[in-house]
């Protein structure tokens, strides 16, 4: 009996050692973990919504973020979107900014692609509840332009404090042709520039372009080009005005198959559009703003749709708990306008804040 105990003692001891050694290292190796929840109450007069003119409530996707240094040179980030029925890896990427020739950076994985200023930002960090319709209409992807791929970026060593970065991405390309089994790669390029205006204010200017196959069989492509600008004007430590806008143009080749001859012909759709918003922080915890967009629909008619909205936000105490109200007036061409009023509550645990001051 005692023999058996002695026999068992060693693996127990070894397991205990292993456990305590892992526990001792846990604080070092555990990633930063954050959870962001978003609740929304809204009322709309959109007649296509079965619940129109009635207040509706929804609990939007919960975001689960893991972020940590992988080693002295690389960082890893995972963002999971948790909805009622599924958990989706929204982003999972590693960035390598050290150990490379000066100014170079690498990124691999699945990520929100850096096209323009807004696409790479998670919606909870916008000062309003929804992304602009023009981005949804022109950029590939359902909720964002999000792809598997790799990026190389280089910061151009300009003199002074100007930050100028060029980046090139090679992407899986599936957001350009989401319903097809075959895959064709896509490419993206961006040049972004940041300048200080005096000591407290800044301006950012960027150019982005992407190209991918929208129909694998016909080998037709979509090309989207965009320019973006953001000015951040600081009047005092608490009062800040942000002006941001993007202009986009889409050049989409559409394939048409002649049913009789089977011949494939292509046509082009080239709509343009853009958005603009102003967000003014009155004090650290309060902000108000307005947004507008105008764009041509990406179809043969190229009818103009537009929307206008106003929003306000309040951080209850600090950055972890936010309340937002937003009124949006959407005017589709030759159709009835739709008004939507939204109240949004966003709360977070952990270091990743919903909307940093």
């Amino acid at each position: 009996m005692s023999f058996h105990f002695a026999y068992l003692k060693f693996p127990l001891f070894a397991s205990a050692c292993l456990f305590f050694s892992l526990a001792a290292h846990a604080g070092v190796t555990n990633p930063d973990i954050s959870v962001i929840g978003q609740m929304r109450t809204f009322i709309t007069d959109d007649s296509s919504d079965i619940n129109h003119d009635r207040a509706q409530m929804s609990f939007d996707e919960t975001e689960l973020v893991f972020d940590a240094a992988l080693n002295p040179f690389a960082r890893g980030t995972f963002v999971f979107a948790v909805a009622d029925e599924a958990i989706e890896v929204e982003e999972g990427f590693l960035t390598l900014n050290k150990g490379l020739p000066d100014g170079f950076g690498l990124k691999f994985g699945k990520y929100r692609v850096g096209f323009g200023k807004l696409n790479s930002v998670h919606p909870h960090a916008y000062p309003f509840p929804e992304r602009f319709n023009v981005l949804a209409a022109y950029l590939p992807g359902e909720e964002s332009f999000n792809e598997v791929g790799g990026q190389v970026s280089y910061r151009i060593p300009f003199p002074g404090d100007v930050s100028s970065t060029i980046s090139a991405d090679i992407l899986q390309g599936n957001s350009f042709h989401p319903d097809e089994d075959e895959s064709r790669p896509a490419v993206l390029g961006r040049w972004s520039n940041f300048f200080m205006l005096g000591e407290e204010s800044s301006i950012e200017l960027g150019v982005s372009g992407t190209n991918g196959v929208n129909n694998v069989a016909a080998n037709t492509t979509s090309t989207i080009m965009g320019v973006d600008a953001k000015a951040k004007l600081r009047f005092s430590p608490q009062r800040v005005l942000v002006l941001q806008g993007e202009a986009l143009t889409l050049d989409r080749e559409d394939a048409t198959v002649d049913e009789e001859s089977g011949a494939v012909s292509t046509s082009h759709v080239r709509p343009i559009g853009g958005y603009l918003f102003a967000d003014y922080s009155i004090k650290k915890r309060y902000n108000i703003g307005a947004r507008m967009e105008r764009y041509q629909r990406p179809d043969a008619d190229k009818a103009w749709d537009q929307s206008f909205g106003v929003f306000a936000g309040l951080a209850l105490m600090e950055e972890t708990t936010l309340f937002r109200v937003n009124w949006d007036h959407f005017s589709p061409d030759a159709e009835d306008a739709v008004n939507t009023f939204t109240l949004q509550v966003i709360f977070s645990m952990g270091p990743h804040k919903p909307h940093q001051f």
């Binding site: 490379l100 930050s163 430590p237 004090k283």
Partner: protein, 293 residues
């Protein structure tokens, strides 16, 4: 002729490299100031935050990454105060950058003794990070910076050590006159907005009767302000020290209710010049003396 030209060019390049200054980036101007002093002519120091910035939340700008990309050393405050600096350092893409935590030698105040969570406000789990406002800690910071400079630029090690000793002796000499200055102030009971002044209060024997924030990072409620009105009357507090980057609504309310004097003082100094700690302390103690008369 060709060989002579090449040799001359090599000589010039070699001379240029030996005269190249060590670039030191710092989260706060106070640390850049001490680095300037210890580094002397061999060091060029710059700060990311300004004296008017809230050191807890500095906006990470690409411009800062460009500056840190050219630096040899980066001085962090540490103790969780300048977590924003990590993003700047990461974005700087500077493999040769030496990162120095200046809190390494400091004996930390207000270290939580139990598990910290957000119900306690924005508590720093490693203790109060505003340690640079005690001149004795200024010397400890200078020692840490000198070590880093010696490591990165051993050629000028003697100069760095000599400057450190000069900094130490000047600070020690001045400490007695600062204490005398502080002793002249009749009322040592003060109210502060945030816990920025704990080290300063310990060094010059001020009593922080209460803080306007009920817990760190959380603005005061009406009931907390009512409690503060009682505290001010009971402890005969005459001065409220208010950081310029926090909302002064609470302090102004207290001034209206009790007649207490609100003094806006930044815990950092605007100019990156040697021995600014001495200047800031002299300025603060004089200001406090004026207000508490």
């Amino acid at each position: 002729m060709k060989t002579t030209l090449i040799l001359a060019a090599m000589l010039v390049l070699n001379a240029a490299s030996s005269f190249a200054k060590i670039t030191v980036g710092a989260s706060l101007p106070d640390f850049a100031s001490i680095a300037s002093y210890v580094g002397g002519d061999n060091v060029e120091a710059f700060s990311i935050a300004r004296s008017t910035s809230d050191p807890h939340s500095v906006e990470v700008l690409p411009t800062y990454m460009v500056r840190v990309a050219r630096a040899d050393i980066y001085l962090k405050v540490g103790l969780g105060l300048d977590q924003w600096a990590d993003q700047i350092i990461e974005g700087a893409r500077n493999s040769k950058l030496k990162i120095v935590d200046c809190s390494a030698r400091v004996s930390v105040l207000e270290k939580p003794t139990r598990k910290v969570d957000a119900s306690m406000g924005d508590v720093h789990p490693d203790g109060n990070p505003h340690y640079w406002l005690d001149p004795a800690n200024g010397v400890l910071i200078a020692e840490t910076i000198a070590d880093a400079l010696v490591l990165v630029d051993p050629e000028h090690a003697e100069a760095y050590r000599a400057n450190l000793e000069r900094f130490r002796s000047e600070t020690e000499q001045k400490m007695s006159s600062w204490k005398l200055e502080a002793d002249k102030i009749a009322n040592h009971s003060i109210l502060t907005y945030h816990s920025s002044w704990s080290y300063f209060a310990r060094a010059f024997e001020f009593n922080i009767a209460a803080k306007i924030e009920p817990v760190p990072g959380i603005p005061p409620s009406a009931s907390h302000l009512a409690l503060l009105v009682n505290t001010i009357r009971k402890d005969k507090v005459r001065v409220v020290i208010q950081e310029p980057y926090f909302s002064d609504d609470g302090a102004n309310y207290l001034a209206r209710e009790t007649g207490v004097s609100v003094t806006k003082l930044s815990p950092s100094c605007a100019d990156v010049s040697p021995l600014h700690i001495s200047r800031i302390l002299i300025r603060y103690s004089r200001h406090l003396a004026r207000c508490s008369r």
